[in-house]
Amino acid sequence: MNLRRDVFQAIADPTRRAILLLLASQAMTAGAIASNFDTARPTVSKHLQILTRCDLLEQEQNGREIYYHLNSEKMKEIADFIEPFRKMWDDRFNKLETIMKKYKAKK
């Protein structure tokens, strides 16, 4: 239970959400991630630590560098990424259908 609450707290922070979105497309080092933010590097490190602690991120050693990547299994637990996008279009199309049915009736 506690762990679950931690995950949702982790993604409630805008910087941490931005980090997750950034890593959605590729694995990156802490330095590369930090270069995307105006925030001080230690702050970004702290965000990475929190995300790693709730298993949303995984670390991978590659030579001397540590790469962070998304733990997609854990991300799926939070939400299916595509579902909100599908829902957005579904809502729009439902509206379209309702409006055009009225449009038809008016004619």
Partner: protein
């Protein structure tokens, strides 16, 4: 229950397909894309310009709950009534780039039609970023609501 709106987005690809069947004749479905007044209603956006013809262009402006304005624009490459629209789409002042949209309108029966929307992005990464936008906003909204409730408790 089967979902009415389907999205096919394969891993690592830079495109996706949105499919939806409507209880509408194809000409009414097409009108919903061609007439500015109708577009405004179902897209929930202001239409600054919509030239529904080949080489025409369009620009929309959406205002969010906080009053921030977002603009979208594109150019129409093909406009074949009740059949096909090919156009570009761009969210202004965002890093998502330009996407190519191929919209195919298909008559199923007198009273039913299907829309096939093939969207091609600049790269797989950009596609995934756009896909995740509603996710990011949704979480953000949930968080704002939570903050509202918490602040009222104080």
């Amino acid at each position: 229950m089967e979902q009415k709106t389907k999205i096919n987005a394969q891993d690592g690809k830079q495109d996706l397909v949105i499919t939806r069947e409507f209880d509408l004749p194809v000409d009414l479905l097409f009108k919903a894309y061609a007439e500015p007044g109708v577009v405004e209603q179902w897209m929930g956006t202001k239409v600054l310009k919509l030239e529904s013809r080949k080489h025409g262009s369009y620009q929309f402006e959406t205002t969010d709950a906080k009053g921030s304005k977002y603009r979208f624009n594109g150019v129409i490459h093909e406009f074949s009534p009740n059949r096909k629209i090919t156009r570009t789409f761009e969210m202004e002042n965002t890093p998502f780039g330009v996407q190519l949209e191929l919209l195919e309108f298909e008559q199923l029966t007198d009273q039913a039609s299907r829309l096939n929307m093939h969207v091609i992005y600049e790269s797989p990464a950009k596609r995934d970023q756009v896909l995740q936008l509603p996710f990011a906003q949704g979480i953000n909204m949930a968080h704002n609501r939570l903050q509202d409730i918490v602040s009222k408790l104080k």
